[in-house]
Structure formats: C-alpha cells, structure tokens
Amino acid sequence: MAGTAVRGRLTWQVAAVDAVTDETASVRTIQLSVPDWAGHQAGQHLDVRLTADDGYRAERSYSIASAPGEPVAITVERLTDGEVSPYLTRELRPGDELEIRGPIGGYFVWPGNDGTAPLLLVAGGSGVVPLRSMLRHRRNSGSTVPVRLLYSARSLPDVIYHAELDQPSRGVEIIYTLTRIQPPGWTGHAGRVDATLLAEAAWSPAEAPVAYVCGPTPFVETAAAGLVALGYPAQRVKTERFGGAEPS
C-alpha cells in the first residue's frame, strides 16, 4: 500500500545519483542520496530495481561500498551479458534517479567492535566491495583490530579501490595476488588463492581470527574450505557468493 510505509519496513524508494566514479575499465562506484535511509552496517546490501517502459522489471542486489555514516554508495561490475549492470555502469549519470531498497542482510556483517580478534578479509574480484566498507568502518571508528586483506584480481588494472588500498594504514596489511597478468617487476603473489597462499597470508587460528570471504562462488568455496582446513572454525568464516562475474 503506497503511502503507508512504516519506518523500519523495507520499501522501495527513489534515490538520486550524486556522483559516479570509475574504479576500473568495467567497474564504477555510484554514490546515492537516499532521503529515507535508516543507516547501514558494513557488509550489508541494497537492492536496485529497474523498470522498462513496458513495465518489465529487473532487480539486483549490490553490496554497499561505503562505511556506516558515509553517503550510500554501491560499486558495480559491468557484466558483458548483464541486464542491469551495463545500464548502471554506462548510462547512469549524476542527477538520475534509481529505485532502491535497503539496507539488507545481517549475516555478512562486521559489527565493528569485535574486541581484539584479528580480521581476515578475502576478496575475489568485486568481492572486495563489502570488505572495503569494513576497512573504512574500521578506520572511521578508530578500531585498532589488526586486519589483513587478501585480494585476488585478474591483473593490476582490475584492482578496485587500488589507490585507497595502497594508502598506508596502521594495522592494515593488503596482500594482492594477480591471477592472469603480472606487471614487470611484480613482487606480489601470482595465481589463484590456494592452500599455500592462505597458509602464508591468513592469521593463525590460534589468534582466534574472524574471516569474511566474498567473491564468485568457486572462489569462495576454495577459500572458505582452505581456511577451515587451516583450523578456522566454520562459524568464524563468513561467506558471501555472487554470480555472473568473469572468472578472476
């Protein structure tokens, strides 16, 4: 029933596009102005709904890229045969309107006050988006929790938020692995995330870390199983899988 929305309910609303930023050749961040936003947690999503002239609707769920308290932003990867992402990454301009609902989700969320347990973030491709919200939330809230981000990307130009991630930040280690193309003189890792790389990059289970793994489904299955094999309790390995991405 239009007009009777109660605060706290999840209802579609119209957001305005405030800014768009190209992160890579195929990835764009869209900053939104949402009139009735209840605030979000790091790791939550929002749904986007596009309606065609003939009434056909397509909905997609995107991770929120900004930290709690920051303007709402999503980072979208363009999928070659996508129904929604080509519009969001190519057509959408500041001033345009977008139907959204959110925030959504409570499982893949970093509340931000996890004592001193170290944080392990493992990203495949655009799986880095919700983890970037967590990194920013850690920074903004003055948290001193030690954090490592293990980030798998196809090549250096495919690294999303590259400049931001390379800013030195106390207690934060960024570990890249490039799966397809490594630039000359590359001293980081090469190849996919596997048991060997996890053993090297992950905190010891003895430090009682909490892990958040996000990426394409096969990436998440491999990384999460690898962490459990290292001795991480399954309930301390939070996972989020997405589809449609090019293999990373």
Binding site: R101, I104, G105, Y107
Partner: protein
C-alpha cells in the same frame, strides 16, 4: 549469469525481507529432510530456477521456493521443519 550459478542466502535478503517483513539471513532454519540447522545466509541459492530456490547446504534438499507472479509471491516452506528469526 549462468543458470547453474549457485549463490547463497545473502543474495535473497531483500526477497526474504519482503516475504517475512524481517531480516531473515540470520534466521536459523532446520532442514525437514536431514535435520541440519543453518542460517538462511548459508543456504545454497538458485536465482534462476523456475522461481527462487534455497537449498540445504548439508543435503541439498529444497528448504524454500518462491515464485513471483505479478506482485504476488507464492512461497513454499515445506522443506523447513522450523524457522526461527532473531
């Protein structure tokens, strides 16, 4: 997106909220087939089956099926022995 892409329950947080009017990815469901308990976020999700399907990560049984017709969601919960939101 490939038809066979298996996602997880995080992907249907909005749809579940729409149906139950509550945050449900952290709700714990008990599989009617094998008895495994798990948060809905941990289930295996197929968005492009005929409808949306949530399967038990332990045994693969269908826990929940949703088919949308116009603005109406038809929800089949027979695969859940219990469902508890927090």
């Amino acid at each position: 997106m490939d038809l066979t892409d298996a996602l997880d329950g995080n992907a249907i947080g909005g749809l579940l909220y729409e149906i139950f009017d509550a945050e449900m990815t952290t709700a714990v469901g008990i599989c009617a087939a094998c008895g495994a308990a798990g948060q809905l976020a941990e289930g295996v999700v197929y968005l492009r089956a005929p409808g949306t399907i949530l399967r038990c990560r332990n045994c693969g049984a269908v826990l929940l099926a949703v088919v949308r017709h116009r603005e109406l969601n038809c929800v089949d919960l027979q695969g859940l022995a219990a469902l508890e939101a927090h």
